[in-house]
Amino acid sequence: MQPFTTYTGIAAPMLSDDINTDQIAPVMHGRGLQEDYKTTLFYRARRRPDGSENPDFVLNKPRFRNAGILVTGNNFGAGSSRESAVWSMLAGGIRCIVARSFADIYRENCLQNGLLPVVLASEAADAFAARVLAADGAAPFTVDLVRQRISGPGGADIMFEITAADRMRLMEGLDDIGLTLKHIDEIANWERRAAAAQPWLQTARDGR
């Protein structure tokens, strides 16, 4: 996983609430096992019904084509657990999502893949959204995970909260499986304890 320390880039506003995984990355039928995640990102919003590009969609506008920071509202990523909704963001160049809140599974999937989910409380979110709209893609913002702050045009630095654990994982780009396998003895111990206390949990056999 690619570590995240600091990122400077264009911030694109997509300020509505409850943007769901079917909107972020719809299930693409007939694409086979290897999806083109970049194409999947906001597949429907990017296109008009006749298939041509929708010039009004924010990420299609020339100023935001290279945006790396997505700024959005409440409950971003509601819906499915499909990780393509995160992989498509990364394939489309988005490294950080600033939201008022995230859906639980989506946020976890972000952390698993080095996509930084920043949550801003109401007032900071209002102020930041206004600055992003004012900047209108003409000047970049910097998201600094080390110092937990966002800086850029239009005002003072904005501090954000993230748990020390999540911050460390992202900064070090830690391989989650490797991290857990350090505890493999404890896991084996647990299995022995469970086999004694609730043995039916440690075997799963068709008893017919």
Partner: protein, 469 residues
Amino acid sequence: MPSTLFDKIWDFHLAGRRVDGRDLLYIDRHVLHELHAHHGFARLEKEGRAVYRPDLTFAVQDHTVATRPGRDDGTNPSGTAFIKAMRDGARRNGIRLFDVDDPEQGISHVVAPEMGIVLPGATHAVPDSHASTVGGVGALAFGCGTTEMTHILATQVMALARPKRMRARLDGRLGAHVGAKDVALRLIAEIGVAGARGYAVEYAGSAIAAMPIEQRMTLCNLNVEMGGRSGFVAPDEATFAWLAGRPYAPKGAMWDRALAYWRTLPTDDDAEFDHEAVLDCSSLEPQVTWGIDPSQVVGISDRVPDLVELDPARRPAAESAFAYMGVRPGMPVAGLPVDRVFIGSCTNSRLPDLEIAAAVVRGRRIAPGVSAMVVPGSSSVKRAAEAAGLDRVFREAGFFWGESGCSMCAGGNGDRGAPGERCVSTTNRNFENRQGPRVRTHLASPATAAASAIAGCIADVRQMFPGAA
């Protein structure tokens, strides 16, 4: 110290704590499906790792399988590669697969409890957000992403932050033709699509105690639509009776021992929750969604809300919902003409769901111009329904009777509506384009869906049983 069902399961399953502060929670039963499993196998093989507990891992073919009778790997061409990759991966890793032609194939969340694979007090994970369906038998379940799935394959644990605890108290006796789906939709409408975010939800109260296990599963299925990852009902004597004798359930002396343990699981009387939501179900009528998220819900005799009745924060979403759904504020939902009806999905495809729908359509015909389909949640459900003659009831009424799978829930198998169609569906998500480009989905119970197929419009099932309400 008094403790909740959730705390009892979590604390027992705690295998360690990682340096980043996450709890390592042991997963007793892990069920894969074809849409995601191949990513996990490929990554493990690339990294030279093995599946740690193939004996506690299961796999199903459900998301992409065709529903047409006589189906095989190629019937839905867009699923073929996934189905084959699932089969090869399961074989290479020694995982029990419920394959396309297995007599017990079906949707993971239907198959796992019906086979007795999940048990009360057990932890469970599936790379599908509706994993908490099996909370209906008192298991603690997690929908997970692909990377988390791969992590479980390699370690049999999930690395989680402990959620807070919420209790949803559902009291009162449900009226005739009102069921768990209506209760769940009302609850989502009340607390919103993010109302349970960060919480593990225990459903309790007199309405739950009276609910058959299948209905409890419907309720827990919809938990994620209010933002909660895990939702469950404490196991009781009805749960134990339901599980007894199922193929993977413990047998003999082991069953007795398990039973004694399971009886200690329910939340202690004075245990505390971080949050409580309350819903009186006694005057609840059948519910139906009018919009494009599962909280945009009204009672069947109600109207699409006017903007002024809505919380200002919810108005922009309502406006796009009006446009997408082709509804006007203030119009009654009943009477909206429908093109399509779908009865199925992990929400409402178990035998009692089909019995309820069949009771509505028996001796009737679907309205001209409506296409209607019933897709059982598992091949076992299908067999049982056929043994009871339900397939004939549906076919004679003009329904398509399909092979089991996810089908029109997300359309991954090619079963989809045509652009602009209005569909009453027993599934769990009414997001735009989910059941096909520009398809307008109204979520409802099997009873309401069946009644709407007969009437040709969104209908109040109670009016089809005069005198019964």
